[in-house]
Symmetry: C2
Subunit: 194 residues, 2 copies
């Protein structure tokens, strides 16, 4: 864009951009509970409604920002800390953030809440181990049962079911589309238009 286009842009922009508050919607649940499916599904719906939204997906971040981390308890905490810090940076510029991260330990989720502040919403994707293991979308439960993955959440390491989450979404008995709609409804109820 050339310098003398400045007027055009500011004119186009000033009457226009959708303003809304921001927050961090932190999806926690077992592998296979539907975190990524719900996060990306809700993102698509919200984008179509012109919300500024981003997904911070645990699996994807492990190929980028968190590629240096393993699955020890310390590394999982550091993983959560970094995701919470990045979520905060996004929320600070007005983006609605959806985090999809197993977040097995209550202590880790509390750390994320402390870092993120009042904008943090803990959303528990309620699907029991049996259901998640039967789904096993990435074949990880099978490998964990075969002893190929140590400390897999639900098999070799604990998942602390949230005691007082901000929302619970049933991803066990409902279809995915219905759970996505529940998440969108919750997010929209917590984001103010300005």
């Amino acid at each position: 864009m050339a310098e003398d286009d400045a007027g055009t842009l500011s004119a186009r922009a000033s009457a226009s951009a959708v303003e809304h508050s921001s927050a961090v919607f932190w999806l926690t649940g077992l592998s296979g509970a539907g975190k990524s499916t719900l996060a990306f599904g809700a993102e698509k719906t919200l984008k179509a409604l012109s919300y500024r939204v981003c997904v911070l997906d645990g699996d994807r971040l492990r190929t980028g920002l968190n590629r240096d981390l393993g699955f020890s308890e310390a590394d999982r905490m550091e993983n959560m800390r970094r995701v919470a810090e990045v979520a905060t940076l996004f929320a600070d510029v007005g983006v609605v953030v959806i985090v999809a991260l197993i977040s097995p330990l209550a202590e880790g989720r509390e750390l994320a809440r402390r870092v993120t502040g009042r904008r943090f919403h803990e959303i528990y994707l309620a699907a029991d181990l049996g259901t998640c293991e039967a789904r096993d979308p990435k074949g990880l439960y099978r490998r964990a049962r075969a002893g190929e993955i140590a400390g897999f959440t639900g098999i070799g390491s604990a998942y602390d079911i949230p005691l007082s989450p901000d929302a619970v979404i049933d991803t066990c008995s409902k279809h995915a589309a219905s759970s996505v709609a529940d998440l969108v409804t919750y997010i929209r109820s917590r984001i103010e238009l300005r």
Copy 2:
């Protein structure tokens, strides 16, 4: 917002939001060269023109995402890697990113370019050591000369002047407002309106 407000939002939004491409503008230079001043100055101007923009400031990130890192060469590289990863996440959702980070080593800037991809712009804030040391806005040069800070860039460790930066901004002989204007002009010339 209640569910039945949905129509209002999508109507408001669809005809409106300013769409533009995104990129990462990576300001490198000595402490005191004006990186934060230019970054936040340009951010203010661009926001007033309704660009979506964020600043990733090295000093601020060291109180958050990078608080676990020191100033060894390995930690500085990790610092740059993380900032580049986060910058990429922001660019992926259409935000114009301005990074303000000393980034002393050419190797580190190349790492950042690899992580960020084609959207990376290396911008050298040209102010010589004598000028920066005379400014010494945070009193760090004085402390480095007194031996209180080891490995301070320009005193105890090297700053590799960029050999082929995408832009050079004179922050030595010009006033800050003029340098900010130069940065804004460069950024706007590299961001497409859609």
